[in-house]
Symmetry: C3
Subunit: 443 residues, 3 copies
């Protein structure tokens, strides 16, 4: 009921109802009663009784209206859109999200192969998280992985977002390095990130980062220490710093080109240097580590990364090159290692990989038809070549991995993946191959 | 306000309001004003002013109605029925539940007894879980136990429920074997499941199951691997398969008869066979393992289970027999072990154990009077005899356990339990006895 | 719409609308129509049509009203006040809260110092919890710490609150001992509790407690065992008991005086006694343990605590003295150790520390201005002196620690802390100093 004072009635009626302030307190009924009384159609006694009734109607209506107002406008909204539990206050100053992810993997390998460990199953990831916004300008995330019956802190940070040009993050978060690394494991195209670039990526570190971005570019810098527990060695913790810049000359919904570069420096604080040997699995997480550098003692290392990706409708391609220079302590030898990969993917059902130019990473694929709503999901085929060079000074090995992938996105948050991988190590007569399946949901 | 077009008014008034489409846009007031204008009771100017006011009332009412509609029909519903936090969308396509369970146990044993370890306390279970529905046809559950300051993945799976005849589950879930095993630890009658049948039960495995059921029967089959982490041995993981059928000739709310049988085959992939010794506690989780088979090397084993239970009002009885045949590698000897138990329970306060014939397991007991709502809870007394035969080829031992239990269900989700257990091992002069208390809540 | 029966109309109109029962079923419009029909202003046919329309309006209004009633009064309320996710049923019989805390610490020490371990970072606390109310009279809490990638059960209990004079808690909970210990780590003034009194505090134990309180006093007693897992030694578990009384002669919002005393007895069940050496860090959690008692073998020990605190506007002071008497087994020597601390804090921005006289502990500081709502947060400076005496019989050592602290409470649930600590151990030429930073959020 829109309610007006009687003094406003005629004016407002002439000017049109849209100019009348709502809820001014009286009712069309009251005005009619007045007219009827003034014309003598109804008696003064009738008027009084009817007007009292009408007024009490108006009161009730106002009360109801205010109840609805309270219930709808002040309410903290709870939603389960896409299966994700989110809570948000009406003024958006506070929000919370509770969720997680399950990835159940089943691999078939030959136990006589190089790195083959026989059939194997595992929960590759079994995570819970809470994240949220507090007092408008602050954010946080606490995320744990319990895969393998172990507890691993993943994202664990506090954020300040109140100074618009940049966002500050304190705690454990992904360092700005690597397109595939910065794309959530929920969205990567193959079961595993490419072995070489994955190994040289910096992943999560505990520190402080500052990031800024435009619609089609991102820039982020970070410094970090190494600890997430208190069992330090009695020496200074290792620390590092780095940054990443991405730019998208095309950044449309189904057409995009991504370019990126990143640098990271890692200082090793162990006195006398730290012994390091890079060891990599052939892109199957339950397999043995068959790619190996020569173990030597280093005082620091630098990592350089180049990224490019393109999306043209259902087709996409992506490549990264990563180079790491290990700087030796005296008596040891420097090592320059590198790796690259390139892959292409195609959605048989017409979807596009979801590039987020303001984040410099890929996001969630939303199938056109959802299984459970009459659709058949999205189907994607993909092919990757990874080249891994852990050899320097004629020590360590090198090789490559081919992977063919088939992904079925049954819903936006549920997918099933199958990968066939074949890996060769130079100089080894034996090689590795495996089929690996995954059932995945995030919520 | 139900609103009609003026053209519909007379017809609808004659035919009865129930046939009138709601919200057609005009108001009883408007019609009255027209009648009064047409009769000359009010002037055209009065009519215009009053009609404008009435129309604006109608607009406001429609707006309010639509707000209420939005708030009530589209709302994601949050409930805490029985203390369980559930969120569900109005269309039921999405839901989420967050909860857990706490079981705090306090045992008094004699440290000089066989298997007695002195007084002991522990959190027998300390669990959190999230489960939910997504896009109507999909379900998931992620459940962790943190008892003993360890992380253990429990239920961890993805489900497809969109093909009505059957439900598919991928991940870690209870295998279809054993009535007591498949009854949640929240609902079992004694603090611990019967030692022998518990040990031979298959519990949770990581694999794929297919289950179907009618109102009074269930049928489920499963194949599984063994891993929930990636530390496989370099050999094929063990795998197994099995199934269970249950039938309830009577399946009423307070009267039920349950019959069940199950089979499971476990293949041991370790080359040369796997050394296995069955070792069991005397149904007190903090006690030592006093029942032991002879350790030998096997290549696979088969497990057979028979189940029966009956509920007649406050009285219920339950029994299971489990037989396991270990098949030896050459040079070792086969072993056929078995165990059975039988128990009876009686609710002094008149409740019935809650048999779920469409699940083939027991569910939650709801006390008639709830402590906190003026009631005194449900009180149950129970007696169990367990017979354990781990002897074959004159090796290993055998024995039995008597348990007397008293359970107080203060509310549907809170109970306190006390068990007195007495165990004998054949050929041992010493025996074991213990009193064990539990405080339990699930939420 | 407030709706009345026509028979009530005139009476109610005369007596005033407030006496009219709402929703009695008719409408002011209907009454007007009757008057107009009776006066002949409108025809009987007009009346019938208009009355039908009006009745259907009334029905719709009632339906709407009942929808609103259902939506607003029965609704389970979800709130995010202060960033804390709480769910509560309208009748308050059930509630749930899901949250946690993150504390990210970064310390700078000199690795050549006594106990200095070089720079170090860690998640000092990384916790999740669910707590709630069930069936009015019952409560529970399940809280886990995952800091250091380890799982640690913290609060884990079931509560009965239905007998007003006292509250019963079964499970793992803080024992009633120590003002700083019983003040949540979210609210303590320095990064670490005072070394000496913290070490002698009893912290959390698994047992049963009974607590009662008035507006300005608290009394609590507890008995406890030691286990939260099932790996008992084969001997009786240790047990203990104790109690605490607090009284606040002044207990106003910004002026308070707190007095407290506590006692605890710990029985060590290991036969032949238990070897104990107290070892303490210099109030920096990543540092080495530099304060040490002489290791000897004891059969039990008693701990006594005295507490005092005062709040006068922005100024507050706090002190505790703790004495522990270790009672030796024969062949060993008794030890009487003790520690005390005193500190003062001052809010530059005018806030007061939040003393809770009915809990005997300090609570959350709420800054006058919140960062994110135009404010600058609360700023607090603090100074602490801790004296630690682990020497008895001329064995063990003693020393002291000075700490200067600066706290910035950006919001009620986010704060940043910096501590400079300097520790001396008597008889050591070397000493310890460190700067330690923390970023903290609780949600």
């Amino acid at each position: 009921m829109k309610l007006k004072t009687s003094s406003l009635l005629l004016t407002s009626a002439l000017l049109g109802a849209s100019m009348v302030p709502a809820h001014a307190g009286e009712d069309a009924m009251l005005n009619l009663l007045k007219v009827l009384r003034d014309k003598g159609t109804i008696s003064a006694a009738d008027y009084d009784a009817l007007a009292n009734a009408a007024k009490s109607d108006v009161e009730s209506a106002k009360e109801l209206e205010s109840k609805v107002e309270t219930a709808t406008s002040n309410a903290t909204a709870v939603s389960l859109n896409g299966g994700h539990l989110k809570i948000k206050t009406a003024d958006k100053a506070f929000s919370a999200q509770i969720g997680g992810r399950i990835m159940a993997d089943y691999a078939i390998m030959d136990e006589d192969d190089l790195g083959g460990k026989g059939s194997a199953s595992e929960f590759r990831r079994a995570r819970l998280f809470i994240k949220g916004t507090a007092f408008t300008d602050w954010g946080y995330k606490a995320q744990f992985d319990f895969g393998g019956n172990k507890t691993t802190i993943k994202d664990m940070y506090l954020q300040y977002t109140g100074w618009k040009p940049a966002k500050f993050t304190l705690g454990n978060d992904k360092m700005p390095f690597g397109l595939e690394e910065l794309t959530s494991s929920r969205y990567i195209t193959f079961l595993e990130r490419s072995a070489g670039t994955g190994a040289f990526s910096i992943s999560r570190k505990n520190g402080l980062s500052v990031g800024t971005n435009g619609d089609n570019w991102t820039l982020k810098g970070a410094i970090h220490m190494d600890g997430i527990d208190n069992e330090n060695s009695g020496q200074d913790e290792d620390y590092g710093y780095g940054g990443r810049f991405t730019y998208a000359p095309i950044a449309e919904k189904t057409r995009a080109i991504h370019l990126g570069l990143a640098y990271h420096h890692q200082e090793l604080e162990t006195s006398g240097g730290k012994a390091i040997q890079v060891k990599l699995r052939p892109e199957v997480h339950t397999a043995g580590k068959i790619f190996k550098s020569f173990e030597d003692t280093f005082q620091d290392y630098d990592t350089f990364g180049l990224e490019a990706a393109a999306v043209f409708g259902p087709f996409s391609a992506q490549t990264e090159y990563v180079m790491r220079d290990y700087n030796a302590v005296s008596g040891s030898t420097d090592q320059d290692l590198n790796a690259w990969y390139a892959y292409a993917s195609y959605f048989l059902t017409g979807e596009s990989r979801s590039y987020k130019a303001d984040k410099g990473a890929f996001g969630r694929v939303k199938p056109r038809g959802v299984v459970g709503k009459g659709g058949m999901g999205a189907w994607e085929v993909a092919l990757r070549y990874s080249d891994i060079d852990l050899e320097d000074n004629s020590l360590g090995n090198e090789g490559d991995i081919f992977t063919v992938g088939l992904n079925w996105y049954a819903t936006p948050n549920i997918r099933f993946m199958a990968n066939y991988s074949k890996a060769d190590v130079d100089g080894e007569s034996d090689n590795f191959d495996a089929v690996n399946f995954r059932g995945q949901i995030d919520f």
